[in-house]
């Protein structure tokens, strides 16, 4: 189980839904960049797992939010970040300029894990940044999407003072 948490892992990732644990086979970063909705990750599971999850969802044993939460937990495992941060880094990675830099650096998304890929994208965007630019990038990355505002700062180590400082920096103060 612990190996799935390791940044360099190529092992399956557990996904816990409705009290059951299913194994999601390792996928390269390239495939994670194509995720648009939670159900895209569910489709990667094998047939029996999809059937079991479909049955629980249909019966109401599992809510849509619970299913989304389970997928988010997986995204946090594979990217090593809050799920929306990982998702944003994956989305940023396929923008032409960022992808161009990564390609020139020889980083192959079909060989790298989502964890490694996100780390590379983050490093690319912060390596020449001064403190203020880095704080701005971190702040934009850390803002939770609509509906998940309450999760801001949970396990992330953010504190109100740091957030205020980052906000002031971001706003040009």
């Amino acid at each position: 189980m612990l190996s799935a948490l390791a940044p360099l892992s190529r092992g399956p990732v557990p996904i816990r839904i409705g009290g059951q644990v299913f194994d999601l086979a390792w996928r390269p970063a390239a495939e994670w960049t194509g995720i648009r909705a939670e159900v895209d990750v569910i489709r990667w599971l094998d047939g029996p797992a999809r059937t079991a999850i479909g049955r629980m969802t249909l019966d109401g044993t599992v809510t849509a939010r619970a299913l989304a939460d389970a997928v988010h937990a997986v995204m946090e495992l594979v990217t090593g970040r809050r799920w929306w941060e990982g998702h944003r880094l994956l989305q940023i990675s396929v923008q032409p300029e960022t992808l161009g830099h990564l390609a020139l650096a020889g980083v192959d998304p079909w060989q790298r894990s989502a964890f490694e890929w996100c780390s590379a994208v983050y490093a690319l965007h912060t390596r020449n940044a001064d403190e203020r630019e880095r704080m701005r990038f971190d702040f934009q990355l850390s803002l939770p999407p609509r509906g998940y505002e309450d999760e801001w700062g949970v396990e992330g180590g953010d504190d109100p003072e740091a957030a205020q400082k980052a906000l002031a920096s971001w706003m040009g103060g």
């Binding site: 489709r43 047939g47 999809r50 999850i53 479909g54 049955r55 969802t57 249909l58 809510t63």
Partner: protein, 100 residues
């Protein structure tokens, strides 16, 4: 978008093989769950069950019984039901349920 299938309007209707059924919008969780099942490449059995549940949730028990009779008598096919689901999905685009 077809005016007969616009969710949120009082004259909302679902058309299945030429027959119009008054349609109401189920709660957001029910809609989300059923659409998730349809989207997860589950078995055909689950897909059909979810389709039926979705149509039933939208048109009510009485109309659903009428639709089922149509299927049993051979007047309606599984594809017609899937077409109905497609109509619901189209109607939902840009018209999310109020409690979503």
């Amino acid at each position: 978008m077809d005016d007969t299938t616009t969710i949120g309007k009082p004259d909302l209707k679902l058309t299945i093989k030429g027959t119009e059924y008054p349609m109401v919008l189920p709660d957001a969780d029910t809609l989300s769950r059923l659409i998730l099942v349809l989207g997860m490449d589950a078995t055909m059995e689950l897909k059909m069950e979810a389709s039926g549940a979705l149509i039933r949730a939208c048109v009510g028990d009485k109309a659903w019984t009428q639709i089922l009779r149509g299927v049993l008598k051979g007047g309606l096919s599984v594809d017609d039901l899937f077409e109905g689901v497609h109509g619901i999905a189209e109607a939902m685009e840009g018209n999310p349920p109020a409690d979503a």
